[in-house]
Amino acid sequence: MLNETTSNHGAQVDLKAHSKPTSDSNKHAFQSGHFLQVQGLSKYYSKAKPVFTGVNFNIDKGEFVCIIGHSGCGKTTILNVLAGLDTASEGYVFMDGREVKGPSLERGVVFQSHALMPWFTVRQNIAFAVRSRWPDWDHLEVKRHVEKFVEMVGLSHSLEKKPSELSGGMKQRVGIARAFSIHPKMLLLDEPFGALDALTRGTIQDELMGIVRRTQQTVFMITHDVDEAILLADKIILMKNAVDTGGSFTPGGIAEIVNNPLPTHRIRSELHHMKGYYELRNHIVDFLIGATKKSLNQTV
């Protein structure tokens, strides 16, 4: 684990200072240990062939965790379980010492397909989230808050536009602003840049990194992009697929959790000059290729 994660608490508290307590946050039944704990998570549709079993990991406050794996390994299922949108077959998720059992405003989700309401403008989309979080805020408070977060992602000029008038990158920015606007304790990102072109992707990665650093947000993110993971994550979880060779069945799960050894303040343009970058990258790519070979062998 990286050192900077422990020094983040001050800023995190500061961000939360003016947000009213929700159902979870007044509980201080904080167990010793980690902010988010995932214990023995498994998911199966038929009991003999689980998609994954025994998934354990922890996320500390202010940590950025990426999860990488091939399609079908259950990344999205894990994220949905963390979000409370899906249930695991076995295992538990604890956040802030309380079990996660259903969706909550404590966890903001950025969906792969941005999931903006097309009948709302950018302003209304974010205001919808803000009003859900603080139902008793008046019009002016909501307006100010919305504008602050739209400005944060640099879309102030598009406040009154409908999502259909925005480019893919802009839509995803609005999705990110919406997730941040409710001051979640944790942010869940389901491959948010998957549908974007490389240039836009780079820009938004930088923006996201900047915002996350400023707000000391705890983030869990799915990605397919190794460089993206290296750039953003403090910790990278590598997932392996289930292997079915006819006779024997090995369920999927976590293959390895890699701590990112690179210096905290990474810049995309200098990333590949950093010491240790290629070792890390090769390690992850080798894992992914190895996993592909394995699954190819199984089909032959």
Binding site: G84, L105, G108, V109, M117, F128
Partner: protein, 289 residues
């Protein structure tokens, strides 16, 4: 684009003119030529009387054939010049008759929407309710609304209310089915957004599901309105009293073909206007993804 539109307009006009021309030529009778031709002047008074008794009135220029465009335009002008007169139950101005029809359609349609949209919402949200009600809807839907008329007349015992009931029953199905379909096919991701934001059920219904399903619901309403306008004419012919359908049937009994054609034309125009209204509403609620 504009040139195509302009061309279409010109072509439409041309088709109309050609239609009028054919109509004019096929109904043209040279003036002064009566049924019996010019030979009538040679007849004696007794012979004329005899012809009258035989139903062949020579003195008056009576047209028994299909009205010509000229006669039609005169009839239309006459009807439109005083649309609001009321000379008793069988002789009312065309605007009054249309008003009655529109009132019935409006009332029946409104009641149907009041029932179908909330109920469709419930069915669309719950797969259980959907499956439970589906067989009833499937059986009730294909019944011609006029088939309900005897039952309606017997139970309601009022012809005007029965008309409204028939409109209600024919408007209810498309709205119900479309609402249920629209609500059940709201994108999962929007519902997920709503649940991660812990949105209350009522807010979710009005701010997420309703706008998401609105285009489909409005399509149902547009279909319903179309059917209701078709059915009101037939229903009013049956129950009588007032309305454009009754007017049409009454004029048929009067053998006034000009009035019948006028009524047909009017039914078409009003139907088109109603549809245009709903097309506009549809435009308002449609969103681009």
């Amino acid at each position: 684009m504009i040139s195509v539109r302009l061309k279409a307009k010109v072509l439409s006009l041309l088709i109309f003119v050609v239609f009028l021309g054919i109509w004019h030529v096929s109904t043209f009778t040279p003036s002064g030529v009566g049924v019996l031709g010019s030979g009538s002047s040679a007849m004696t008074a007794e012979q004329l009387e005899y012809q009258k008794l035989m139903g062949k009135d020579i003195g008056t220029q009576k047209s028994t054939g299909f009205p010509s465009p000229d006669q039609m335009s005169k009839a239309i002008a006459k009807q439109l010049s005083d649309p609001f007169y009321d000379n008793g139950p069988n002789d009312k101005g065309i605007a009054i008759q249309l008003g009655y029809s529109l009132l019935r359609v409006g009332l029946g349609f409104f009641l149907a929407a009041l029932v179908a949209i909330p109920f469709g919402f419930a069915i669309g949200m719950s797969p259980l309710l959907f499956s439970a009600f589906d067989p009833f809807i499937q059986i009730l839907k294909p019944i011609s609304p006029l088939a309900w008329m005897p039952l309606a007349l017997y139970t309601i015992k009022d012809s005007s209310l029965s008309g409204i009931f028939v409109i209600f029953i024919c408007s209810v199905w498309p709205m119900l089915i479309n609402t249920a379909f629209g609500v059940s096919s709201v994108k999962k991701e929007w519902l997920n957004v709503a649940s991660t934001l812990e949105v209350s059920p009522l807010r979710k219904a009005f701010l997420v599901i309703l706008p998401a399903a609105a285009p489909t619901i409005l399509t149902g309403m547009r279909i319903s309105m179309g059917i209701a306008w078709l059915v009101i004419v037939a229903a009013e012919m049956l129950v009588g009293g007032t309305g454009i359908g009754y007017f049409l049937w009454n004029e048929w009994n009067n053998l006034s073909l000009t009035s019948v054609i006028f009524a047909i034309l009017l039914i078409g125009i009003v139907g088109m206007l109603l549809d245009t209204c709903f097309a506009q509403f549809q435009k308002w609620v449609t969103y681009v993804e």
